[in-house]
């Protein structure tokens, strides 16, 4: 198919679709790295991505075979995977492929082949000659505060700003006179420049893809800012089109400088052919083998969990719970809940997305901006302001611009330089909280007040309503309670606990906070929810909607710091004296559970001896969060691979090794699946996004991940790159993903298959995740506990293989002795 007509808008649209869509660091939120391919089924899509862009899309064959040798993937699962795909007869053939066959496989992606001709035919190393120049200009324009002299023109769009700069500057960006004139006078379009540079319309699309995927990091950032201008606090207007025009001009400049203005456009060389970038990948034996391995790998863990669920004896929840606690669905809360329940069998814990249904912007006191604290795709209409805060912003001379001025630095080096020596020594031998660190507890001043209730103030100039109306408040509480199934048997104290993280020297800090709160700590949300749910007016509205909360019941907000394993509670002074007493009794339970949780987490930290006492370990865990040389303050979502939507009874007592997102849901109260759909609408993209970002960053840490964190250099406060000349590196660094097993998420839903199917089908966007198997799904029949697996758009009964050894030893000893994944098993 030859395309002689080139449609630049269509092509730009395509490119933006395929580019990485990562926000600037402050708003880092996990998403499916290969979102561009999500409309196709997982294996087809990844095969095509691999052929088109050269991505590695699963673990290597060697890694799989190694796991097989170590019995991490049992032989039975090889057969099972082959049987389900090719039938029994083919088992010997594919086993041979999986275990012994030698494959000759290399990556030679479609994208990049055309532009390689500059080097082959013209002996011009285009990337080396243009990238540094291009990145430097883009970075200076978008910089949010590293440079002391900002880009001189920031109130105009990118191109117009550059033109203004060129107009007055005696030194040009370009060496060639022709290009200077072209840029200043003619305002060329992409097509015009391609006419000069390539000269054959059928190649233009190829060329632009090659051009942009030579530095996907920068192109992705530009495209993201183009469509989300609010992503930068200090606003800039830039479009991908402008960036491409600049890049094409730089390329022409390079050629002009080398050959004068007379050179043959690339497309006029006969040897050059256009390539269909989007063609379906050829199905190779190699890929099929890897897919079989992937299935066997996934089923090995899935089956452990599913067997566990089937064998788990359901102990019905207490009717008169001592307290109830809501945590985020986040996989990091999973083990803390387990310990709380262990220490206080009479309590009840629930999981629900950590923004607690509240959709609003938060503006801290003295803040010049407001920040979103609900899921990223939501555009809230409400603003909550903080007032009466007492906390002060702390400063550190090392980040001061005076260290870069000639005289300021002269004075500082002679004086402060010596203090740096001590700071350096202290930061190594006795780390402490410094202004450089990011603490989840500082997000909100707990002593300040919040404008929670709307009191007929006018809208702000951004069109936001200050505070929530009674109707809005009631709806939020109703939704959270009904969707999680807590509509009766209220305990006297109900905790709403958000989560956040603390770290230092960590550019990914936003990714450590609550994903449901858009990469912020969930403290404000927890506090607001508790305040709202305690309002008598809300309570009486709720009665009308069938929820009666006894007067003696009080909600209380809190924040769990997942790095330090600490918890803090808000507005404790409003508790009645009985509840204050109860709260005082409950606090040690939470804290003890945190200490035990720290011990469990520590098995993954090489520098901590897991056999030591829990208290000692907890102190070390806290220290990690403020240590500047610790690239792994916590392990974030590493090893996540489950999402359980159902009653807690289903998994209570089952050890899931911090690998599960858990959303409480009572199917008995939602026979037609209305709340289920709301839950899945959020859980599929959020948990699926986290899971797939980990998956892809793990399997191709070079191209889809950010590589090792250790050489990273902060670029314009927006992103990181290696060294000073490199492209931006989206994705996750090795230090976050090295322990992650790349398994697709298994969504376990407690409900009847037909209800689930009709619910998810009603939202095509959510359905796509399951239909294309980017997220796997099983239904657990609430009555029979039979399991149905979703595949090819239908639920089929599924019998998990029961292979978990019964002689694993006690959980404590497993935790103390293994730094690897621990099998899902019943805690005996």
């Amino acid at each position: 198919m030859s395309k002689d007509h080139f449609d630049v808008d269509e092509c730009l649209h395509q490119i933006k679709h395929y580019l990485p869509a990562q926000a600037p660091l402050k708003d880092f939120v996990h998403h499916n790295t290969l979102h561009a391919f999500q409309a196709e089924s997982f294996f087809e899509a990844t095969a095509r991505a691999s052929a088109m862009l050269g991505y590695k899309v699963s673990l290597s064959l060697r890694a799989f075979r190694e796991m097989y040798k170590q019995d991490s993937i049992p032989s039975e699962h090889l057969d099972k995977a082959i049987r389900s795909t090719y039938g029994d007869v083919q088992i010997p053939h594919w086993r041979e492929m999986m275990l012994n066959h030698k494959f000759e496989a290399t990556y030679n992606p479609f994208v990049g082949q055309l532009r390689a001709s500059w080097k082959n035919l013209y002996k011009v190393d285009m990337n080396t000659l243009t990238h540094t120049r291009l990145f430097r200009i883009l970075n200076s324009y978008l910089d949010q505060g590293i440079s002391i002299w900002q880009f001189p023109v920031t109130t105009r769009g990118f191109m117009s700003a550059l033109r203004e700069l060129e107009k007055y500057s005696k030194v040009s960006l370009f060496n060639s006179d022709r290009v200077q004139k072209l840029f200043q006078l003619n305002r060329p379009t992409i097509t015009q420049l391609l006419d000069l540079l390539v000269g054959r319309a059928s190649l233009y699309e190829n060329y632009l893809f090659d051009l942009q995927f030579a530095h996907p990091g920068w192109s992705g950032m530009v495209a993201f800012i183009e469509s989300n201008p609010d992503a930068l606090l200090d606003k800039r207007q830039i479009t991908l089109e402008e960036a491409i025009i600049l890049e094409l001009l730089l390329e022409i400049d390079v050629l002009d400088t080398k050959f004068g203005t007379q050179w043959k456009p690339l497309g006029l060389n006969n040897s050059i052919r256009s390539i269909d970038l989007f063609k379906k990948a050829k199905v190779t034996n190699y890929q099929c083998t890897l897919q079989l391995w992937q299935q066997a790998f996934e089923n090995t863990f899935y089956d452990e969990v599913l067997t566990g669920i089937q064998k788990n004896k359901v102990i019905s929840e207490p009717h008169t719970a001592s307290f109830q606690a809501f945590m985020c669905i986040d996989d990091r809360e999973c083990s803390w809940r387990r310990y709380i329940e262990q220490l206080e069998p009479n309590c009840q814990t629930f999981g629900t997305p950590g923004h607690f249904g509240l959709e609003y912007y938060f503006q801290p006191e003295h803040g010049k901006f407001h920040t979103k604290v609900c899921p990223a795709p939501v555009t809230p209409k409400i603003l909550v302001k903080e007032f009466g805060a007492t906390a002060k912003l702390k400063r550190d001379v090392h980040f001061s611009k005076h260290t870069h001025g000639i005289l300021g630095a002269f004075l500082l080096t002679h004086t402060y330089g010596f203090i740096s020596a001590f700071k350096l020594a202290f930061s190594i031998f006795k780390p402490s909280f410094s202004p450089a660190a990011n603490s989840s507890f500082n997000f909100m001043d707990a002593t300040a007040k919040l404008t929670i209730e709307h009191v007929n103030e006018p809208l702000t100039k951004d069109g936001l309503q200050i505070g929530f109306t009674l109707e809005q408040m009631t709806l939020v509480v109703e939704k959270v309670l009904k969707s999680t199934g807590l509509t009766h048997d209220f305990a006297p104290l109900i905790y709403m606990i958000g989560h956040g993280a603390s770290s230092v020297n960590n550019t990914y800090y936003a990714g450590y906070d609550c994903g449901a709160c858009c990469g912020r700590p969930g403290s404000v949300n927890a506090r607001i929810f508790a305040t709202i749910a305690n309002k008598p007016s809300v309570r009486s509205e709720l009665i009308e909607r069938g929820i009666f909360i006894p007067e003696g019941t009080q909600f209380i907000g809190g924040l769990h710091d997942t790095t330090r394993d600490e918890v803090t509670f808000f507005d404790e002074e409003f508790l009645t004296s009985e509840n204050a007493k109860r709260h005082l009794e409950n606090k040690p339970t939470f804290n003890k559970a945190l200490t035990l949780n720290a011990k469990e987490r520590s098995r993954r930290f090489v520098t901590i001896n897991t056999k030591a006492s829990a208290a000692k370990i907890h102190a070390q865990v806290k220290k990690r969060s403020i240590t500047i040389f610790e690239p792994r303050p916590e392990l974030n979502h590493a090893s996540n691979c489950l999402c359980v939507v159902g009653r807690r009874e289903m998994t209570k007592g089952l050890f899931l090794d911090r690998r599960a997102f858990m959303n409480s849901y009572d199917c008995k109260q939602d026979p037609d699946g209305t709340f289920l759909l709301t839950i899945l609408n959020a859980a599929a993209p959020v948990c699926g996004g986290i899971n797939l970002e980990y998956y892809f960053s793990r399997v191709d840490n070079h191209k889809l991940g950010a590589g090792s964190k250790l050489p990273h250099n902060v670029i314009g406060l927006n992103a990181i790159a290696n060294g000073i000349e490199g492209d931006l590196r989206p994705g996750l660094p090795t230090q976050m993903t090295e322990l992650h097993d790349p398994l697709r998420l298994l969504m376990i839903i407690e409900h009847y298959p037909e209800v689930i199917l009709s619910a998810i089908k009603s939202n095509p966007v959510t359905y796509e995740w399951f239909k294309n198997e980017w997220v796997n799904m099983v239904a657990v029949n609430p009555d029979t506990k039979k399991i149905y697996r979703f595949s090819n758009e239908e639920f089929m009964q599924y019998d998990p293989l029961d292979l978990v050894s019964s002689q694993l030893g006690s959980l404590v000893s497993q935790i103390e002795n293994s730094s690897q994944n621990i099998s899902a098993q019943l805690a005996s």
């Binding site: 402050k26 990337n127 590293i146 990091g217 260290t403 191209k703």
Partner: protein, 626 residues
Amino acid sequence: MMIEIQQILPVLISLPIVGALFAMLFGKHSEKGISYSVILATGAHLLLTFTLVGVWAFRHFEVINIKEVVLYKMQGYEFFIDLYFDKLTAVYLLVGSIMTFLITIYSSFYMHNEHGYRRFFTNIMFFFFGYNVVILSGNFETLFLGWEILGVSSFLLIAYYRDRYLPVKNAVKVFSIYRVGDIGLILAMWLSHHLWHENITFFKLNNLALVHNQIAHHQLLALSVAMSILLTAVIKSAQFPFSSWLPRAMEGPTPSSAIFYGSLAVHIGAFLLQRTAGFWEDMLFFKVQLILVGLVSAALSTFTARVQSSIKAQVAYSSIAQIGIIFIELAFGWYDLALIHFVGNSFLRTYQLLISPSIVTYKIREQFFNFEPSADGLTKKWPKKISYTLYMLSLQEWKLDDFLYKRLWLPVKNIGARLNFLNLSNILIFFVPLLVGAFCLLYFKADIPSEIAQYIPEIFALIGLILVIKAFTERRSVRLSFALVLLNHLWVAMAISFNDNVNWEHIIIYLSGVFLFGLLGFATILWLKKLERRVFLNQFYGHSYEHPRIAFFFLLCCLGMAGFPISPTFIGEDLIYSHIQSGQLFLAVFVSLSFIIDGLALIRIYARVFLGPHHKTYHESAYRSS
């Protein structure tokens, strides 16, 4: 009185090597063993340093000079290792030791699970060893030994992520610029041979009466020595016009960038100047140059730092600016101030680099609470024409990187391109008979009329130079490039043999290392070619991915051949210079260029064959731009 210090110094110097050797006893993945080895070594080094400085202070800061080992001796020539200890040494030693100790502890955690954990620490120790040798050196020869070690270990640290393109490219780039700096040092050594008629110690150099007398009689020669030293110092401390290498060196893990390019390595230029201050402090012309360089560097780097939008580049340029001021302080004779400045600048920049990732949290928070919408224009005071031009120039690092490329590498490349007709077979046909001819000439040396004979050394050296330029620019054949380097050494040897009363012993010392390591290296290439189909120079092949051991062995061969202090050629090169007369500037320049480009060609071969993205793509590999 001095016995104890005499015993301590060699121990002190060798501690990093001991640490590295111990680390190498452990397996690649036994992080504990590796890190304990280096932490113990650097800890012991720190203790010893404190003791040493204490004892030395107790003895009223007496300057110490110790002739350690004579490596080679003959009539009128002595190559010896000499150690020296004074206030300057004490300060650099303290800072180096404290910093290295802290950074090794820092890195032992930070580097956890990194591929090449052991390689990182052995490189750091290797670097620290070089640093110790340099700052404790008592003569140019000893200093040069340390200098070479610093250069190579810098290369290895920058190219730590050897499977990515940019680190390897920048490592080669920085190494090349360092190598140009080495010319200065080599020339300074050669000229000072003629100035003092011996391998002079810094102890004597700081003996004012002696120096003044000698300088007064040989002003031009003395100034040339000083200017050569300045060139070396300017390059090593990333001063104008050689600033652009420093930010580009920040490719390794942050702690290694922080300690070396934030502090220890960049201040070595200032150290060299201060060390030789007794020699140049009465040369007004030199001091004016020094002030100018410092001033221009400080000004340009300050502007450049102001527009940098990446944190490491900003810190790098700010550091360069302060070193510029240190240069000025030195020119004015404010040596103590310069030392204080060095200490402050080192710690400040190191710590700034170490906590650089935190700048995101810190500045975003600051912006969130203190944001003022920006107006256009850098400043209201200046007209747009000036301020925009200034901005644009600073953004382009004052085009210094392009300048270096155009002035230093492009000419060599262009000459190389003209030599494209050379290949393995016509080199055999043409140069081997020529070499035989040269041997004949040498045999009948006595019969050649002296008008002709006086030009022969230069001609031979020039032929050698041309060959090595070809070696450096060869695009395809590894064997050809490698063989040309070997031939180059032969021609240099021929040239020298003609020049003086040939001393065969000297020639043998010089060539023995070249041939031993050359032949081993050549065999290694053949071995690799047996294993791998594609072993060429047209791109990076990254063979260290599959053959790390061969890579290491080949690196040793290259180093030995390039006169690195593991081979007798290191002394041989110094001997060669002792045969070049002070009037033979061309010969000296040709030979120096040969040596410089030799080293470059070899490192280039190593980098292209063994480093960079692996050419086989069965595994994940990084984007070229990352």
